[in-house]
């Protein structure tokens, strides 16, 4: 969202129903040098997504595609240069469930930094099946402690 504020002038987008689990927002900077598009598929179905942009302020530009999912932490997964003489641009990507996509389209070569490094959770702590086992061990431990106190 902080990166969206670098392009604070909101661009009109088609309306959407939040209960479908997908939301999006687009903005352009005051100097019209940067465009941002934020798309979140919070709990919708896996879908394809087509973005059509018209009246681009430039014909040569760069685009970075950032992704947040279970394997990416706001990482750039695609960075491409384009040269479109008709000031239009169309691209598509896979909008999977539980993902957030951020696009920065710019006439410069400077992009917002990627997400901070995430601490890795040890494998044993990622096993959800152990949650109930941990609770059971905690209860047993409490029983032992109380027995000793009594």
């Amino acid at each position: 969202m902080n990166y969206m504020m670098q392009t604070p002038i909101r661009l009109k987008t088609p309306s959407f129903n939040l209960s479908d689990g997908i939301a999006y927002l687009a903005g352009i900077s005051k100097d019209r040098g940067n465009i941002s598009i934020l798309i979140a598929n919070y709990e919708g179905k896996n879908k394809g997504c087509v973005i059509k942009i018209s009246n681009l302020p430039w014909n040569k530009f760069n685009m970075a595609h950032y992704l947040i999912d279970d394997k990416h932490h706001l990482e750039i997964i695609e960075n491409t240069s384009y040269n479109n003489s008709n000031f239009k641009f169309k691209f598509s990507f896979s909008l999977k469930k539980n993902t957030v996509h951020f696009f920065r389209i710019t006439n410069s070569s400077i992009f917002p930094s990627e997400g901070l490094e995430v601490a890795k959770i040890p494998f044993i702590l990622r096993l959800r099946c152990l949650d109930s086992l941990t609770r059971l061990l905690a209860i047993l431990l409490l029983i032992i402690i109380f027995k000793k106190i009594i």
């Binding site: 909101r10 088609p14 687009a26 179905k45 879908k47 394809g48 973005i51 018209s54």
Partner: protein
Amino acid sequence: MKIALVLVFAILAFPPIYPDEIVISIDCNKTDGIIKKFAGINCGPLGQAKGVDLTEQYKQIGIDFIRTHDFYGPTDISSIFPNWNASVGDEKSYNFSSSRL
């Protein structure tokens, strides 16, 4: 034959939009006001356990609003209004000293 050609042309000219596909059309000349900042968060950068200071990370991701209730400390309602039998209209019922850090 002509009808078949027209149909083929129509199919090629107007590819179908699949229901499992969304299309977002953006015109860079059509604006819609200013994007409102919506980066509020619950709990401060020190967390409840106060083990790690995430102040810099909060600044980097643009957090500018923190909801301080359920912080188990200053500004929790139980700290500010400790006696639930007290009068809500009496300013003596409130204690804001814990928020003055």
